[in-house]
Symmetry: C2
Subunit: 337 residues, 2 copies
């Protein structure tokens, strides 16, 4: 039952031309609706295509279509992870915007490893994509030179704090960190802890934290304690981290989390331990994931424009927009801080 009608050759454009009784160029023009052709030719070709079940070969089409410039219809995308809904959200915005343009994205997952990112970029470029979408601004030198030499549009998504290769779409993680700190300070919290991931791999989290600490320093404060974990962030990690941190620093009055997943874990921990939030201890997250607003106490967090970033990145591919698009973020006051 495997799908093998003719195990051999697939239907080609030449077959369609023969079947329709027209020339190859005419078929090509009809199929792409490019150039002029008669109504009659259009009908005959459409019939032949239907009869033969022709599926165009875009490998050939892209190869033929003027090597550089005309475009293959592929977009190469590198994201660090699929485990965190943030990146699928990015892809969602992207594919939604790409839908109907005839472009497809080829996705690589770097697992936060710059070397792997470089390998992926090389692999993706071998498909001669029309554009390359990367995540963040930190890349290996090899990645940068590959991207530059490719002669295609390069869009770096999410982070706007630094120099980009070509186009940059995102928001300022630094500003997000600062806003978080200012919010906590304004609410009167002074004994603040942090729970996050290894800044070596979580570059953007590291930027937020640095900005957060800078604001604390301005106020003559510093983090009371921090708990940094390795691996994939999760509610379980957030809960364990929170419990460990609170055991070390029972006098904390607020905790800043690297993201909402971990913050949810922290909230679970409070619930389990009977700690009043935010009276006994305040929680502040990052990302503004869907579930936060359904919580009995909506999580105080920062909502990032993930879909919009994906969409804007797609828009960059075609238009000649600005080199840098800052989509900002929203501070969600919530009820946990």
């Amino acid at each position: 039952m495997a799908g093998f009608d003719p195990p051999g050759r697939l239907v080609t454009l030449t077959d369609v031309a023969r079947e329709a009784g027209v020339g190859e160029s005419t078929v090509s023009r009809v199929l792409r609706n490019h150039g002029s052709y008669s109504k009659r030719a259009g009908e005959r070709v459409a019939e032949a295509v239907a009869r033969l079940g022709y599926v165009p070969n875009r490998l050939a089409g892209s190869l033929a279509g003027g090597g550089a410039g005309t475009g293959s219809g592929l977009v190469g995308v590198v994201i660090p992870s699929l485990a965190n809904i943030v990146f699928p959200d990015l892809l969602r915005g992207l594919t939604a915007a790409l839908d109907g343009t005839g472009m497809q994205s080829v996705v690589g997952v770097s697992e936060y490893d710059p070397d792997r990112e470089e390998a992926l970029v090389a692999a993706l470029l071998s498909w001669r994509p029309e554009a390359l979408l990367l995540t963040g601004l930190e890349h290996s030198p090899g990645t940068v030179s590959l991207a530059r030499a490719a002669g295609v549009r390069v869009v770096e998504m999410i982070d706007t704090d630094g120099e980009g290769i070509d186009r940059v779409v995102g928001f300022s993680n630094r500003a997000a960190g600062e806003a978080s700190a200012r919010h906590l300070l304004a609410r009167g919290y002074r004994r603040i802890g942090y729970i996050g991931l290894d800044p070596g791999s979580d570059r953007r989290g590291g930027k937020r934290l640095a900005a957060f600490e800078a604001v604390l320093a301005e106020a003559g404060l510093s983090l009371v304690g921090r708990e940094v974990r390795e691996g994939r962030s999760s509610a379980a990690m957030g809960r364990a981290g929170f419990e460990a941190l609170l055991a070390r620093h029972p006098d904390l009055d607020a905790v800043y989390f690297a993201n909402d997943d971990m913050a949810l874990g922290g909230w679970f921990a409070c619930l389990a331990a009977g700690l009043a939030v935010p009276e006994r201890i305040a929680l502040f997250g990052f990302n503004g994931l869907d579930f936060t607003e359904a919580m009995p106490q909506p999580l105080s967090t920062i909502r990032t424009p993930r879909l919009a970033i994906g969409r804007a990145a797609a828009a960059c591919l075609t238009g000649d927009g600005p080199a840098r698009i800052d989509l900002g973020f929203d501070l969600i006051e919530g009820a946990t801080a």
Copy 2:
């Protein structure tokens, strides 16, 4: 600063051959490490590649490489959504398994629309992928005939309840629904409600529900009430649905949710309303998402082998495994039912 060194032609294999002072075929053999060549030739080619910054053109490679069979190195994947972490998990398993094989996946998102799925399949097939990975067993006739005519391996993921086109990898949603019902019955719950999505689009959820109801019927019971919502499932939707359902049927003693996100929303609703779980009302989810185990009361749910499905699907592409792989699922007793 855009990445445009030579706005015109990119480096080709012919350039490398000239630079290295060897023939094109030799370069090709060296680069693919296929066929025999001297050590000296290998070195000269490697140097020339490095010097020129050559990136192979796989469009051309795949086109040349014996049309059918030799393989393009692309895998076409269609998933219904990126908004639900379940499908990124699938991709994660897949890309992890594909990593190092030189294959890349091209992903399309159908948004649960069979027509869109068909369009995506056609679009993906135009890249002459080596395999086509679909989600679920329900497809439009057009999708099925396209897939069959393509002459490539077709793998349908997640659901094993029904006939597949070629290969099927997943678990039985029917069995999952039955297991959920048996669990609730065994725990003594009798007045059970359901909160889920429109079964027209959520086919697999519909299968689970049907099986769930069949088990209830065997025990002489039926669902006390159900709340079916449209759109993207979320904790907020689960919470709203739960509150609506409970308002209509205050005597419910358990609720079966279409997935964990909605169940989390239900749990939030209980927390907010001060309803004891599971004493006053029990909650049962589906999927076994990460956060469920970090909850103060771990959610009672069914853990689905999403990563393993992705991995197994990747394994199908190469090997000649069985037509159907059932990876099963785990019932997580949890503490909410």
